[in-house]
């Protein structure tokens, strides 16, 4: 029983974080058909903002909000620096600029801050544990679950009920038609980047809360997770991203518990092999999104 509860909490907390990461990526992909390689660096930006503000004596929640705000700012900045100038060009061109931009941010952190890990301030609640039904679990896992439920609900509401969300979905389905009907393209794209940055910021705090430190390469793992979750879920579907995130967490956690010790270090290889098998069965991912996709 305790094991079952432990397992469920593990899957839900990991899955919640994965789902948020994937959602932030797929919001951009859905509208612009572009893969944002610099997405992981938004998480890095949130982490370094926490580190840089740690000496200021502000309450933790203010620092956290500041970190999220910086991630949003950098999200919008990504749009202006790496995407807007090449939006009308080939998919490959956009991929390359975002890859280059990601490298740019990472190396800027190397050059201006430090290659070594930096401590991030965390409230004591992040390191406490509680006992639920016989299973001992860190409180931060419960925080992650709560945060992901709230955020997923909020994003669902935003996308379904508000004008902005409906306009974004319209743009994702048929960009040209949406523009003809008066949806302001640049505003929609910038808000998508802002929303993506917001999700990255929150995920960044939750993710870095697990590790406690930030390094320039901290964004790589979340980026990969988001990539794989979106590919499994279906590249253009928001619910797909969430499903993909939870499924990936389920695979990861199961492997964590079942693989023998000497094979555990190959876990990533196993996970990605499973992903390849899923793609073999359904090349378009589990949930199909809207069919078309133009960017201009």
């Amino acid at each position: 029983m305790a094991f079952t509860i432990q397992f469920i909490i593990d899957v839900l907390s990991l899955g919640g974080a994965y789902a948020l990461m994937a959602l932030g990526l797929v919001i951009i992909y859905g509208i612009l058909r572009l893969v944002n390689f610099a997405y992981g660096e938004l998480i890095m930006v949130a982490g370094y903002t926490m580190y840089l503000s740690s000496g200021s004596g502000l309450p933790w929640i203010v620092m956290a909000s500041l970190a999220v705000a910086m991630a949003v700012v950098f999200g919008i900045f990504t749009d202006y620096a790496a995407f807007r100038p090449v939006r009308a060009k080939s998919v490959t061109a956009v991929l390359i600029t975002s890859f280059a931009f990601s490298n740019l941010l990472q190396n800027a952190a190397l050059l201006f801050i430090s290659p070594r890990p930096r401590n991030v301030p965390l409230p004591p609640i992040f390191s406490q544990t509680v006992e639920i039904g016989g299973a001992i679990t860190p409180v931060r896992n419960l925080i992650t679950i709560a945060a992901s439920i709230v955020l997923l609900a909020a994003v669902a509401y935003l996308m379904r009920k508000t004008t902005l969300g409906i306009a974004m979905r319209a743009a994702a389905t048929n960009f040209t038609m949406a523009r003809m009907l008066g949806v302001p393209a640049n505003l929609i794209i910038s808000s998508a980047f802002a929303l993506s940055g917001f999700l990255a910021g929150v995920v960044g705090i939750l993710w870095i809360g697990r590790i406690g430190t930030v390094v320039p390469g901290v964004g790589l793992e979340p980026l990969l997770v988001a990539f794989i979750a979106t590919v499994i879920g279906g590249m253009r579907s928001l619910p797909g991203a969430v499903v993909g995130g939870f499924l990936l967490a389920l695979i990861d956690t199961t492997l964590n518990y079942t693989l023998p010790q000497d094979l555990l270090k190959f876990r990533d290889a196993f996970t990605f092999t499973l992903v390849i098998l899923i793609l073999l069965w359904r090349p378009a991912g589990l949930i199909k999104g809207p069919a078309s996709g133009q960017r201009t």
Partner: protein
């Protein structure tokens, strides 16, 4: 077809000129830089055979280079050194010791076989999904290299490879690879693949089996990467898995993109240009680090400049320096134009 011969002749001539020039100068540092350049050239052209013809970005290339390097290492490290260099190696492998040339060939074949197996499902994917999975594939290959201690000595540095890669040797391999890439480009597979790059739907309607075509190109690219990896391994003689990860991937893609992914000429031009820029920036970093203000803290400057250059290229000249035509083709056209105007 005829201008392919001109292109091949010019590019090989360029490689030969580089080698002869360096040998005449006789400065060891330049010798190193040019050998490095030629190895990069092999890798970049390898990537070009896949990316240029299929139009898909592949991140996994450097992973196959790593597989090649490790294959060649396991086959060539002298038997008496194996106990130290690879303590966990399977018993029957310890006695194996083949010539570096044969090992290089085997390295290419091993990389190609791995690519042939893993790429079969991946080639069915298109644009973004294909790119993302190739990125995931790089991580898988890296994880395997980092953890398969029996063959790779884990994340620790593997040493003891015989240093057999010389400047002329690298030049010969580079010249061969130029020819292979040009032949592949003009072959039936290459032409069909380029048709699918321009218009996937139209090419499929004409009967092109796109996943299969891509698969062939991918396997060829992996073979070249494996050979390049072996070449590099015998040049550098000691390396760790982290030599085959994102930093190198970024560098190879920068070279190809700046030169122009669609042409072999572009791959050559990009490799040469970026290598010189890279070496220049590295020495600048070194100089800055030696000053009081830098104080050993300047890292990543090279990558920042290259990243900015790459973004600028994508905005101003998205096809790179040689976006569509090979150098031979450009020269032939210029001559024809002159004749018609005269």
């Amino acid at each position: 077809m005829k201008h392919s011969y001109i292109t091949a002749a010019l590019l090989i001539g360029l490689i030969a000129a580089l080698v002869v020039g360096t040998e005449l100068l006789g400065i060891r540092l330049y010798d190193r830089i040019v050998t490095n350049l030629l190895i990069s050239l092999v890798l970049v052209i390898g990537l070009q055979t896949f990316m240029g013809n299929s139009g898909l970005l592949s991140f996994a290339h450097i992973g196959f280079m790593g597989f090649g390097a490790y294959t060649s290492a396991v086959l060539t490290i002298p038997a008496q050194m194996k106990g130290m260099a690879l303590p966990d190696l399977y018993g029957f492998m310890t006695a194996v010791e083949v010539s570096p040339l044969l090992a290089m060939l085997v390295a290419g074949i091993v990389a190609a076989i791995v690519a042939a197996i893993v790429a079969y499902p991946l080639m069915r994917l298109s644009d973004a999904a294909a790119v993302i999975t190739s990125f995931a594939l790089l991580v898988v290959l890296y994880t395997v290299m980092n953890n398969w201690s029996a063959f790779t000595n884990g994340p620790r540095t593997l040493f003891g490879l015989p240093k057999t890669t010389t400047l002329p040797m690298a030049a010969i391999v580079a010249a061969l690879v130029v020819v292979v890439a040009l032949v592949f480009k003009e072959s039936r597979t290459g032409k069909l693949l380029r048709a699918s790059r321009e218009d996937e739907v139209a090419a499929a309607a004409l009967g092109a089996d796109i996943p299969k075509l891509r698969w062939k190109a991918f396997v060829l690219a992996a073979f070249i990467a494996g050979v390049g990896g072996a070449l590099w391994g015998h040049f550098i003689t000691s390396f760790a898995p982290k030599s085959f990860y994102l930093k190198e991937t970024f560098l190879v893609i920068t070279m190809l993109v700046i030169g122009g992914a669609n042409t072999v000429t572009g791959a050559v031009a990009g490799a040469i240009l970026v290598t010189f820029a890279y070496e220049g920036l590295r020495s600048l970093e070194g100089t800055l680090n030696a000053t009081a203000a830098g104080a050993g803290q300047v890292v990543g400057l090279t990558e920042i400049v290259l990243a900015i250059a790459m973004i600028a290229f994508m905005i101003l000249r998205p096809g790179g320096l040689f976006p569509t035509r090979e150098i031979g083709h450009i020269l032939a056209r210029m001559r024809r134009k002159k004749e018609t105007s005269a």
